[in-house]
């Protein structure tokens, strides 16, 4: 028993050393991680640290360019753009996280089951994934939100559904190569049920790859959700959300008030960039062979 803990510890220490090595070789990942921490802080504490009420209008101070008082300027109702961008982080972050967790629960589990059991399970889930793939994804998301109703929950669901095929494919491939692995056969011989092997043995083994995928999908999920709210779906004004904030300022771009759209757009871009870099970095740590 003590041997096992020792080897686990060295395994963990080795993993940590590898992570440190990757971080040192690729400072960009460290940078992305720093950004990620900032985003999480803004999401958690945003409403308490912003200087102004994101919904309070002050028509006397409308359409002011960025200054020391209003860092990101003010919009047509005199609302502070900086406060609105920071407060919006929570909603965008939550939409992305819930949709990614949801697609993992749907697509990841369906894919693992398809790869492990094969046969009809495989055929049904693969056919379902193919059908979703037959649509341009953003267009399908629009159709889903239009059909289910114009709510934030449906944006989350639609974003999860359009990512479903990707998760099914990855999880299916990973489960498929492990279905007759030594430890699976050993578990089967010791009398474990198939469901138990699937959830207790296969799933934990493919989790690292799924986590990398989830991180990579976060960026896409945020873009997708912001795109939907940009065209007027889901999130409704005056709720601050990056896509809506960009849409609200869009009309002012032609008359030179660039800051209303620019800063929320920049926040969106930085968040997506951060998740993409982080996903690439995580992949380098978890799956060094796929490094490009």
């Amino acid at each position: 028993m003590s041997d096992m803990t020792a080897s686990q510890q060295t395994g963990f220490a080795a993993g940590l050393a590898h992570a440190r090595y990757v971080l040192a070789a690729n400072p960009v990942t460290g940078f992305a991680f720093g950004l990620f921490v900032l985003i999480v802080i803004a999401a958690a504490f945003g409403p308490y640290i912003v200087p102004y009420d994101p919904l309070a209008s002050d028509t006397a101070a409308a359409l002011q360019p960025p200054s020391a008082v209003h860092w990101f300027g003010t919009d047509q109702l005199g609302r502070d753009v900086f406060s609105r961008v920071i407060v919006a982080t929570r909603l965008d972050f939550l939409i992305a996280v819930t949709s990614v967790v949801l697609v993992f629960l749907m697509g990841g589990l369906a894919g693992v089951a398809a790869g492990f059991f094969g046969g009809w399970t495989d055929r049904i889930f693969s056919r379902l994934a193919d059908t979703i793939m037959a649509f341009p994804l953003f267009v399908l998301a629009m159709g889903i939100v239009a059909a289910l109703g114009n709510e934030v929950e449906n944006i989350v669901l639609a974003t999860a559904i359009v990512n479903f095929p990707l998760y099914v494919r990855i999880a299916r491939a990973e489960a498929n190569v492990r279905r007759d692995a030594g430890y699976v056969q050993a578990a089967r011989l010791s009398g474990n049920s198939e469901a138990r092997i699937l959830l207790g043995h296969i799933l934990p083994n493919i989790m690292p790859i799924m986590v990398v995928q989830m991180s990579l999908t976060m960026g896409y999920a945020i873009l997708n959700a912001a795109g939907l709210s940009f065209i007027g779906l889901g999130v409704r004004p005056p709720t601050p959300e990056w896509g809506i904030l960009v849409a609200e300022g869009a009309g002012f771009m032609v008359s030179g008030e660039w800051w209303i759209s620019f800063f929320p757009g920049l926040a969106l871009m930085v968040a997506v960039f951060c998740f993409n870099l982080l996903g690439d970095g995580l992949r380098d740590i978890v799956d060094p062979q796929r490094r490009t």
């Binding site: 193919d130 341009p136 267009v139 629009m142 289910l148 869009a250 757009g265």
Partner: protein, 337 residues
């Protein structure tokens, strides 16, 4: 060759069936009672019942599906409440605007991304290689509507080079007589140089926006596949035989490296068709994307369903074309098939 095309055509049938089933389910998942909705707010219960019968909504779901497929087979996508026109006619009228934009966007990004990827692969670690990697990572992080707005601000407001982002043609010009629906081609056919220039000017910014968005995936895959091909044995042999470097790169390497690029085009089209909606919204482009967005905001569902179905069918058709193109380029696939 014909057999191959027919065989490939047959494989699209399950996709099309899936697409039709999904769009049908989306129509029936509408919140509330569609009959009450279509009858209007002031309708009496009898009128709602009448509409329900008329729409066939009192029948069981499988029968409704048969009716839906029957309507589709006749090209009937319903009627738009906002324009009062048949959805199929509306979409047909607006499709060329979207197609012109998307195709030019793709053309632009191919003309930038392929050379960029090739040069990056030729000199790994060089400045252009790093530029390629930065563009590929930054490009996928750019919200397409944000790029569009920035371009409008810089080129319309600050520099004054581009016309106002308000549709396909400045209001001072009238549209050329419709032959193809593509203003660039139609104006040339009509011999009207002024309209051609005006249409081209309106096109530049939206095309740039769409193009920048799709440069990233194409450049990335070109670089990767070019790197793989350049290190292969036939390229080494060609080099050793003393062929000119340009012959090796263009005739030998590039032609082989383009195969994965053609495959990626399917994914690029999926992105482009979606991004099209956002770009059309930014530039007030009168295509099918903005048609669907306007309908969505007015809670007018028939156009949205028609739009989703049209896009899906287009996308399936594009993938089919890409696949056939792939087989034309690569004889090995043809033999295996």
């Amino acid at each position: 060759m014909l057999m191959m095309v027919l065989k490939r055509l047959a494989t699209t049938i399950p996709s099309l069936i899936g697409v039709v089933i999904v769009t049908f389910l989306l129509t029936r998942a509408l919140p509330g009672d569609p009959a009450a909705y279509f009858a209007g707010a002031a309708a009496t219960p009898q009128a709602v019942e009448e509409v329900r019968k008329q729409l066939g909504l009192d029948q069981p779901l499988p029968l409704q599906f048969v009716r839906y497929v029957g309507d589709l087979a006749q090209g009937d996508l319903g009627t738009s409440l906002t324009t009062g026109q048949r959805v199929s006619a509306d979409i047909a009228a607006r499709l060329p605007a979207s197609a012109e934009l998307t195709l030019l966007g793709l053309l632009f990004s191919l003309s930038i991304a392929v050379p960029l990827g090739v040069f990056a692969a030729l000199k790994p670690g060089s400045l252009i290689d790093h530029a390629c990697r930065v563009i590929a990572t930054a490009g996928v992080s750019l919200p397409v509507f944000f790029t569009g707005l920035i371009l409008v601000y810089v080129f319309y407001y600050l520099l004054g080079w581009a016309p106002a982002p308000l549709g396909r043609l400045d209001i001072f010009f009238s549209a050329p007589p419709t032959v193809t629906g593509f203003y660039l081609i139609d104006s040339l056919l009509a011999g009207d140089g002024e309209v051609f220039w005006a249409a081209l000017k309106q096109l530049v910014l939206p095309v740039l926006t769409l193009g920048i968005f799709s440069i990233a995936p194409i450049a990335r895959i070109t670089r990767a596949s070019m790197l793989a091909v350049l290190s292969s044995e036939f390229v080494r042999t060609a080099r050793a035989s003393g062929l000119a470097p340009s012959t090796v790169v263009i005739t030998y390497a590039l032609r082989n490296a383009l195969l994965p690029v053609v495959t990626t085009l399917g994914m690029v089209f999926s992105f482009l068709l979606g991004a099209n909606v956002l770009v059309e919204k930014v530039f007030a482009w009168p295509g099918i994307g903005s048609y669907a967005v306007e309908a969505l905001i007015a809670s007018d569902f028939a156009p949205v369903q028609g739009f989703v179905l049209t896009m899906a069918v287009l996308y399936v058709a594009l993938n089919l074309m890409i696949d056939i193109l792939y087989r034309v380029i690569d004889p090995r696939v043809r033999i295996e098939a």
